[in-house]
Amino acid sequence: MDYKIRAARKEDCKDIARMIMELAVFEKMPDQVKISYKELERDGFCQNPFFECLIAEVSDAHRSKCGNGIGKSLMSKVAKIAAEKQCVRLQLSVLDWNSPARDFYAAKGAQDLTDSEGWHFIRFDGLSLDNLVKEAPQD
């Protein structure tokens, strides 16, 4: 199957937004997606972008399926960029029940730090973030 990995352009944001939603549906949390392609355009293609993005595109009208090596190529490209920029690590989060993804990463040498070191992801947002701003000085 013919495909190409390249840096995303502003025009790709509609497709990126579509795929973000597809992934969120897979992760069973589609109602948590609050932003659209407009925010992606604004935040990813401004003077100081808040994210970078690589996309894989197929040359014909082939529907992409798993098992064609596209995932591996994307990871390889991300790792190349990390190495070029002298990064010492690549970190990511994955859902506990998502065995295919966990296996994919483990096969490539990733460690589950939640398991081995007990790290948990914590977040303040919405009301709890508002409250933090207003919090009284006393602990």
């Binding site: 970190q91 990511l92 859902l95 070191e117 992801f121 977040r123 947002d125 409250n131 000085p137």
Partner: protein
């Protein structure tokens, strides 16, 4: 006790590294710190800062000079579902000066900054055996996404990164 919160400057790099190591020691992982002052200087105060830092300093009773007693290292990241996030990377107050409200003040400062820069959330990781920190955050309404949604932190080290980078294309 009077203290001051301010933005870190290049001259603070030795103190930042000192506190990074103190925090790593507290987390029982001090041997994992390979960062140098030069790295901190280049990465924080060059053309493209990879982190920002706020520090707490005060004048200890025993001396004339100012001492850096706490810091928070953070950067901006992106959540594809909700947009900009403030990621709190390291947050530490020297033991001697805990319980004085410095930590709370830093949290308030950071959340204010998050709001001002249109971040929808502030995120970080905490080790599950760090009871006092977990309580500190839970008291303030934080969600434990690992517990509530099942997110696990995965990491590729340099060796695995290099291997992946040179993997033959399929």
């Amino acid at each position: 006790m009077e203290y001051k919160l301010r933005k870190a400057e290049p001259k603070d790099v030795p103190d930042i590294l000192r506190l990074v190591k103190e925090l790593a020691k507290y987390e029982e992982m001090e041997n994992q710190v390979t960062l140098t002052e030069q790295d901190l200087l280049e990465d924080g105060f060059g053309d493209t800062p990879f982190y920002h830092c706020v520090i707490a300093e005060l004048q200890p009773q025993s001396s004339d000079g100012l001492e850096v007693v706490g810091f928070a290292m953070y950067y901006f990241t992106y959540d594809p579902w909700v947009g900009k996030q403030l990621y709190l990377e390291d947050f530490f107050i020297t033991q001697e000066y805990r319980g004085l409200g410095i930590g709370s003040h830093i949290m308030r400062h950071l959340s204010d900054l998050a709001m001002k820069t249109r971040c929808s959330g502030m995120m970080f990781v905490v080790a599950e055996n760090n009871e006092s920190s977990i309580q500190f955050y839970k008291r303030r309404g934080a969600e434990d996404l690992s517990q509530e949604e099942g997110w696990r932190l995965y990491r590729f080290d340099k060796e695995s990164l290099v291997k992946m980078a040179s993997a033959r294309e399929e």
